[in-house]
Amino acid sequence: MSGLPTRYAGWMIRDFVSGPGILMAVLAGFALLLVGNLQVVGPSGNADLAACFIALDWTTMTLTLIATAGLVSGDFAQGHQRTLFAKPVNPALYYLQRWLIGGMAVAVAALPIAYAIATRFDIPVLGVGLVARLGLLYLVLGGLVFLLSTITRRDWLVAIVLIAWQAALGAARSAGFARGLLSQVLAAILPPFNLIGLRGPGPEAADLTHATGYGALLLLGALAVLQWRPLARGARD
């Protein structure tokens, strides 16, 4: 018997590439096309550069949603988990591996966009820093969808609602509204999407610690649910 989880990594990657990978490639290709066709505005081209980074942020978040949507819930909705986990396979490790493959795919799709921006505007944006920030974004948003996916089929939708909620709350607080206790609690509880963007200077050490800790908790939460939850709801599903 060969028991290493990596024994099924090969076909997991192939399934990913021929599944969500196609949509991710289309999206990344579209983003690259957009960056290549942008006109530099003004002597420094800053206006477009900012727009490019905003686009990179949203593209990477969308790629993350595509890579992780239905990660666990897809199998459970179809009943595939019954056959899968009768084999000597740990569900937490199985889906962790699939989640990591999703993360690598997001990096493979997003880095060329960042590279294209850097080439287009002749700026140094690539490097360990960008990869680390991509990793942080995937840890928080990808971790959130992973956790939601262990609970609900509408994982990606709930994640979008949370992103929108957090963005609206952030905007209201910036404008001087939503300063009450409830808003403060919500701002602390909601996933720190505002700290994980790829544009601008990197987060402060405290923010980085908060976002990393938050993401790690989401990931551990997902793994804990998979370790302890029943793999079926009823006798047959």
Binding site: Q78, R82, K87, P88, G234
Partner: protein, 308 residues
């Protein structure tokens, strides 16, 4: 191998407004080397029992252990061969791909996977379907694929839920041969089925469940005398030609409509034997003498009160 101690499972809706007891206080030991059948009407708790044995569900009360381990722990170490009642395999996989992947998941060493897949394709008559997508398979072929994937590994625990559902008579017969070949001293085979004839042919013991409770454990293949010679039995008697002695020897004999020389006769073993001897002595030629219901069927009806 498997110990069930006061095992109970109750399904509850999210807010507890709907409570459905599925299994109640089941205590039982299943040992290696035996084939155990699970029979019961719809909703008797068969599939719930299987889900608990595989650790897919947590019991509400009591416990289940496989070799003194929680089921999930045991399965993550050794794996089980499991065929679900509703075979659910990713629809876009091809038959060959599916078997290859389940063999890999089952922990078959890389060098042996191809050979194992080829053997399964041949044994289950799927070789000419190997390139077909799972979604394109007929019900019978899907059922065979479900059975083949369950045997992709070499587990000591096989759990087959309605394994012949959707199979044609030829493959139903083939399935029996497969199960006989799968028997070995270290292996426990559990088969849940509505098909009592199949269980009677294959199982050493049959658990009869009804409304979540274990009603009876029937040792299959035992002689009727094991359940008491005084018990009334029903047999079908066929003669080569109608004979006037039948009515005298078996006063309650019911002529089977449309069959000139066939009757259903009832009585305990001694009465039936005496009557048969008398009939033969009177010159009747017996063509067939078969149980009207199989023994398991009789036990089943007695246990579930005629509901099926």
């Amino acid at each position: 191998m498997i110990e069930l101690q006061g095992l109970s499972k109750t399904y509850r809706s999210l807010f507890g407004t709907r409570v459905v007891p599925a299994l109640d206080d089941l205590t039982l030991t299943l040992v290696r080397g035996e084939v155990v059948g699970v029979a019961g009407p719809n909703g008797a708790g068969k599939s719930t029992l299987i889900s608990l044995l595989l650790g897919y569900l947590h019991p509400t009360r009591g416990q289940v252990q496989v070799d003194r381990l929680a089921p999930r722990r045991w399965i993550e170490r050794h794996g089980a061969g499991y065929q679900a009642e509703l075979v659910a395999i990713p629809a876009r996989w091809s038959v060959e791909t599916a078997l290859h992947r389940y063999a890999v998941l089952a922990g078959v060493p890389g060098a042996n996977v191809r050979e194992r897949v080829e053997r399964l394709l041949t044994d289950f008559g799927l070789a000419d379907q190997r390139r077909k997508r799972v979604r394109e398979l007929s019900k019978g072929n899907l059922q065979r694929l479900g059975l083949a994937q369950a045997l992709a590994g070499d587990s000591d625990l096989l759990v087959l839920d309605e394994p012949t559902h959707g199979l044609d008579p030829l493959w139903t017969q083939r399935f029996r041969d497969v199960v006989r070949d799968l028997r070995r001293p270290s292996r426990l085979i559990l088969i849940a089925s509505h098909n009592l004839d199949e269980l009677e042919r294959l199982a050493d013991r049959v658990l009869i469940l009804h409304q979540g409770r274990l009603q009876k454990v029937v040792t299959a293949g035992a002689a009727p005398s094991d359940v008491g010679a005084s018990r009334e039995l029903a047999y079908r008697l066929a003669l080569t030609a109608p004979h006037p002695a039948v009515g005298r020897v078996f006063p309650g004999a019911e002529l089977v409509e449309g069959r000139g020389a066939e009757w259903v006769i009832r009585g305990d073993l001694a009465t039936l034997n005496r009557g048969l001897a008398e009939l033969v002595a009177a010159g009747a030629l017996v063509a067939a003498f078969t149980p009207e219901q199989s023994r398991l069927e009789s036990e089943f009806r007695a246990a579930v009160g005629g509901e099926s």
